[in-house]
Amino acid sequence: MDGSFQKNGLEALVDDRVDEGVFRVDRSVYTDQEIFEAEIERIFEKGWVYLCHESQVPEANCYFATDIGRHPVVVVRQKDDSLSGFINVCSHRGALLTPKKQGKAATLTCRFHGWSYSCDGRCVRIKNEKEGFGEDGFDRSQYDLNPIAKLANYRGFVFGCLVDDVEPIEEYLGAAATWIDLMVEQSPEGLEIVPGSSTYVIRGNWKMQLENSVDGYHVSTVHRVFASTVRNREERESLKGLKQTEGGRLVGIVPSGAYDLGNGHMSIWAQHTTPERRPIFKKKEWLEANLPEAHVEWILEKGRNLALFPNVMLMDNPSTQIRYVKPISADRAEVTVYCIAPVGEDAEARAARLRKFEDFYLTAGMATSDDMAALEDTMAGSFASQAQWSDFNRGIQTMTHGADEGAKAVGFDPVSSSESWENETLFFGFYRRWRDMMLDQD
């Protein structure tokens, strides 16, 4: 860009003329490093972002290190069980405080000059303080850690924000909250991250990762080979029950849908023709006894992918996943995937959930690897400025403004509903939120 992108330039990048049947995005949103820097400032450092799941900080003094934009951040469990978030940086010279990504420590001690902080952020020890700062009247509290402006825990999913001037978490999540509820209410004992994770670098823009996670249109092409591979396995080994894979959605023959949930959040679902192959099916009776019928139907029979603006995706399909994306540069992002599962799940269901995860969701798996390859080709193609527009028009004529019957049944209120997960109308909300945050420079 030539620097003129500040206002008019930015607005022109999202060609939002839905009344005329057009919604398209200039591909420089993926490739331009100046735009990327602005995204970090105006989106990641000005609004809510996902930080972690509460099970990653299970007890007092447990910490989890992550980032908000360019700010290293640490989430710490307090003695009263509440959660706090701090800039994860020593007040003295700026070294990172946590030795590991995740751990437990009564105090966080900087390993450079030995300054220590209690888990509530107070600076409690400065090495050789008297010799350096004198005996009397020295106020150590000026070196307390910087708390992050906002921290919120929505049913176990922890979000943070670096500025005070932001909507309450419930308002930010809006219709997407119901999609989180559908995951959480499956387990009265809560959800937990299963030990182990995988981090991979995508040679593509962070927004492409969010798009991919709720793009139902690619499934029957990119994942056709996954479907044929597991079908071949099931025939070869005569597999039954939980060891089989739900295949209907992969070949595009089942009912499905897509929602623009507002505030940039998006979701898709597809009907499971064989819900008995899902690990959660073992809890059918409990679900039916404890939850409204419509919720049980959504939980058992609809595979769901949710993308929360701007940095996390929650998948509840044959397996269940948290996928966190960290933007690195315009053409690079780091993705970490975790398996999230009901606490106290029985061994057979847990093993099935993990094996399905490993089959599909990893860069060493048989589907996410193909997604990555497609994404990276899309990135390579996006540098062609003479072919500048990415089209999101599919389904623009048939979309429903507001809620369809499925949404009404469980009580969430999307901006728009679409009767097929192959439709792209859900991306309107994503790019409108993106545009609005990029234009709001205050």
Binding site: P195, T229, L354, D371
Partner: protein, 165 residues
């Protein structure tokens, strides 16, 4: 413990042969080196210093309870329908430090180190692994009953499949 030099030679030969078949894309011969009940395991990292330890209850990068898992991978590669596997990355495995760790009844355990250089669309890269093998003596010679690959690289660029490991 004294381990007979013939056995040491056979183990080294088999490990070298196994990775050679991968690099040469002799998939069917490669699969034949594994017993039908062979476990193929690539643990994920539980934290910076430890991998997961129980493949059944924890998340792995790959965990196949029998040889069918690698047969699936070969099926997918050969279908030419996998986006990530067309074109196929080129690979060269360099195996060293082969040690026979123990012999018990018909089962032999061994360790080795492996560097894999691969080249694909995005250029070249090298990854390193620790190998833990178990072999079974059969009438048809030694068969692999466990291949555990501890991939020390923990921030993966690009897809990782059986031939990268």
């Amino acid at each position: 413990m004294d381990i007979d030099t013939d056995l040491k030679r056979d183990v080294a030969e088999l490990i070298n042969w196994e990775t050679t078949l991968l690099d040469r894309r002799e998939w069917d011969d490669w699969i034949d080196l594994f017993a039908e009940d062979a476990v193929y395991w690539v643990p994920s990292w539980a934290d910076e210093e430890r991998t997961v330890s129980d493949p059944e209850t924890q998340l792995n990068l790959m965990y196949f309870r029998n040889r069918g898992g690698i047969e699936d991978r070969v099926f997918r590669i050969e279908s030419r329908d996998s986006y990530a596997s067309l074109p196929l990355d080129r690979t060269v495995h360099i195996v060293s430090n082969i040690l026979v760790a123990g012999v018990a009844d018909d089962e032999i355990s061994a360790t080795a180190n492996c560097l894999v250089h691969s080249f694909g669309k995005h250029g070249g890269q090298t990854r390193a692994s620790l190998y833990d093998f178990k072999f079974r003596k059969t009438e048809a010679g030694l068969k692999i009953v466990l291949k555990k690959i501890t991939l020390i690289d923990d921030k993966l660029e690009g897809p990782v499949d059986i031939y990268h490991l």
